[in-house]
Symmetry: none
Amino acid sequence: MMNKKEKIVHAAIEVFREKGIEKTKISDIVKIANIAQGTFYLYFPSKLSVMPAIAEVMVEKTITAVKNEVQEGAAFTVKLTQVIDAIFKITCDYREILALIYAGMGSTEHIKEWETVYEPFYSWISQFLNEAKSSGVIRDSIHVERTSKLFIGLVESAAEQVYLYDSKQDDQASIQKAEVLEFLKYGLGIQE
Amino acid sequence: MMNKKEKIVHAAIEVFREKGIEKTKISDIVKIANIAQGTFYLYFPSKLSVMPAIAEVMVEKTITAVKNEVQEGAAFTVKLTQVIDAIFKITCDYREILALIYAGMGSTEHIKEWETVYEPFYSWISQFLNEAKSSGVIRDSIHVERTSKLFIGLVESAAEQVYLYDSKQDDQASIQKAEVLEFLKYGLGIQE
Amino acid sequence: MMNKKEKIVHAAIEVFREKGIEKTKISDIVKIANIAQGTFYLYFPSKLSVMPAIAEVMVEKTITAVKNEVQEGAAFTVKLTQVIDAIFKITCDYREILALIYAGMGSTEHIKEWETVYEPFYSWISQFLNEAKSSGVIRDSIHVERTSKLFIGLVESAAEQVYLYDSKQDDQASIQKAEVLEFLKYGLGIQE
Amino acid sequence: MMNKKEKIVHAAIEVFREKGIEKTKISDIVKIANIAQGTFYLYFPSKLSVMPAIAEVMVEKTITAVKNEVQEGAAFTVKLTQVIDAIFKITCDYREILALIYAGMGSTEHIKEWETVYEPFYSWISQFLNEAKSSGVIRDSIHVERTSKLFIGLVESAAEQVYLYDSKQDDQASIQKAEVLEFLKYGLGIQE
DNA sequence: GATGAATGAGCGTTCATTCAT
DNA sequence: TATGAATGAACGCTCATTCAT
C-alpha cells in the first residue's frame, strides 16, 4: 500500500508519459491515482510542482538501471558500454519526462532542487570514473566531478537524438551508442 | 518595419523567455506583437506551431554567433575554443527556448521539422570537423556527421549545467568551458 | 437595446434580490443577462465589483421615486410624509441590496466609491431642507448637509426595522412611518 | 480557559472583522480558535449560524459600554451625550460586524433571532427614555419602545457615516456627535 | 467529545477560437 | 487583410462536510 503522495507521483509519471505534460489534466492524475481531486492539493499546489518529486524517482530509476546493467568485475570499456546502454534505455523509455527534467523545466523556479535531486547520479558516475582513474585506466588529467556531468550530458543528449531523429530505425541506436563509446574512450583517454 | 508574421515570431520568443511556454497565452504574444488577437490565426494555427519558425531564427542566431566568433585562419584548437565560447553565450542567453527546442518540445508533433531546421547548424559543424579531419588535425576514425551532433549535444549540455548549477559564479563558466575543451580535444583526438 | 454592461448590472440586481448576494452565482447573472459566462469578466472582475454600479442605479431609482412622490407646492410636512413614504417603499422593495450598500458592503474596498455614488441623493435632501430653512419652516440652527445624512440614516434604518421585525404586519409600516414623521418634525423643529 | 463554543464565537468575530463574512472560511475560524475542523460542526451547523451567538456578545459589549459611560445622577442631556459617545465608539470599533447584524444579514433565515438578541439593548434605551419621560424631561408624546429603535438607528447610522466618509478626520466624529445630539434633543423634545 | 485527512460537487476563471465589421 | 468583442467548453481550485480513529 502506497501513501497518497507516492500514488500521486507515480500516477503523474504514468499520465505525463502517455499524454505529455501540457495536455495532462490534474483530473487525469487523480483518476489514475484513485484519489479525490481535492486530495491532490493537500500534497502539491500545482501540476508542475510534482516535477521535483518525479525527478527524484527518475534518478532512482536511472541509478538502479545502471547498477543492474553494470557487471561487477568487468573491464572498464565493457562497463562503459553497459552504462551507455542503461542510460539509452532509460532515456528512451522516459524521454518526455527526462527531457523536461533535463531542460530545467522551462521555468526557473525549481532549478535549485534539481541540483540536490541529481546529486546521487553524479556521485555514482564520479565514483565510477574515480576508480578507473585510480587504476590508471583513464587519463590522469580528468577532473572526475566535472567530467561526470559532461559524461551524463553527452550520453543523454546522444540518446535523445536517437529518439528525435531516427525513432523508427532501431539499428541507429546501436550505431549512435558505438559512436558515443568511441568518443568517450578518446575523451576519457582510456588506456587498456 | 517588420511584417506581421515576423512580429509574431519575435514577440513569441520574448514572451516564451519571460514566462515559459506553458504559461504563455496567445493574448500575451499579440499584446507584445501589437496586433489584434484574431490576426494571430491568419499566420499560425496554434501557440506551438510558432516553434519551428522560432527554431529557424534561433539556428540563424547561433550560426551567426559562431561564424562571428571563429577567427579565419586560426589554429583548430583556437577555433574550437571560439566555437565553445559562442555556443555557451547563445545557450546561456536563450537557454529556456533552446532547451525546449533541443529536447524535442515534449510534444512529438513538430519533431520532423526540427530536423530540417537544425540541419544548417549540424552542417556547419560537420564541415568544420571535416576540414580538421582532412588536414589530419583530428583522428581519422571520426564520423563527422554523427560527431557533429555529439559535439553540439556535449557543449550545449555543458553550457546548460553552468547556468543550472552555478549561475552566480562567473568563473565557473570558464572552468566548465576549459573542461569541455579538454574533453573534446581528447574525444576528437587532436594532434597538434 | 442595452449594452452588455448595463445588462449585467440589471441582471445582477434581479438575481441578488431573488437569491441574496451570497447565494448568487455568476452563472445565474449571465443567464439572466443573456450573455456568455466569459463576457462577464470583460466588464467586471468579480461578483462584488458589480456593487458600485448597482449602487449608482439604486441611487437613481431612489431619487426618481422621491421626486415622483413629492408633490410640488405642497406644505413641507406633507412633502416630508411623501419623502418618508418613498424611502420606505424603495427600502422595502430592495432591502437586501440597500442593506448591503448602506452597510458599506462588509468589505472596505469600495467605500470611497459610495461617497461619490450617494452624493446626488444627499444633495437632493440637502436642497429640500435648505428650502424649508430659507422659508423659516424648520429651525435655523439646522446644518443642512449633515442633517441630510442623519435624515436619510434615520428613515432608512426605520424602514429596515419594519421589514426586520414586523414583516408580516402591514399596519406596522404606517405606525413606524408616523413615528418617524413625528420624530423628524421635532428634530427639524418644524414651525407651521 | 474558554470552552470550545466560546472559542469559536470569539474567533469568528475576529476573522469576520478582518476578512468580512463572505470571504471568511470555516477553516480560518478553526485555525484562530485553535480547534480541529470537525469540532466546529459539533457546535454550529454553518458559518452563518454563528451570527446569533456573535450578536449576543455584541449586544452585551454595547450595553456594558453604554452602562460604563453613563454617569448615574447626571442631567439627561449629559447622559444623552454619553450614550451617543458609547455607541459611536462601539460602532466604529466593530462596524463591519454591527453593520451586518443591524442590516439583517442579507439572509433572512436568522432574522427572528436578532429580535430576541437585540431586545436587551432596546429595553435599556426604552427604560432610559421612560425615566426621562416620567420626569418630564422629554416630550410626553414620545412612544418609548418605537423611539428607542429610531434612536439607536439614528445614532448608529450617524456613527457609520463618520467612519464611511470621514475616516481620516478625527474632529469629524465630534462634529457629527454634536449634530446627532442636537437632532435628538429636538426630536425628543427635551425641556431642561 | 475531539480530531484532521479525505472527499468531490460545484464554482470561478481562463483563454483558444470565431466572426461580424 | 485586420480587427477585437464575444463566446463557452474546459479546467483549476475551493472549501463545507464527513467519518474512521
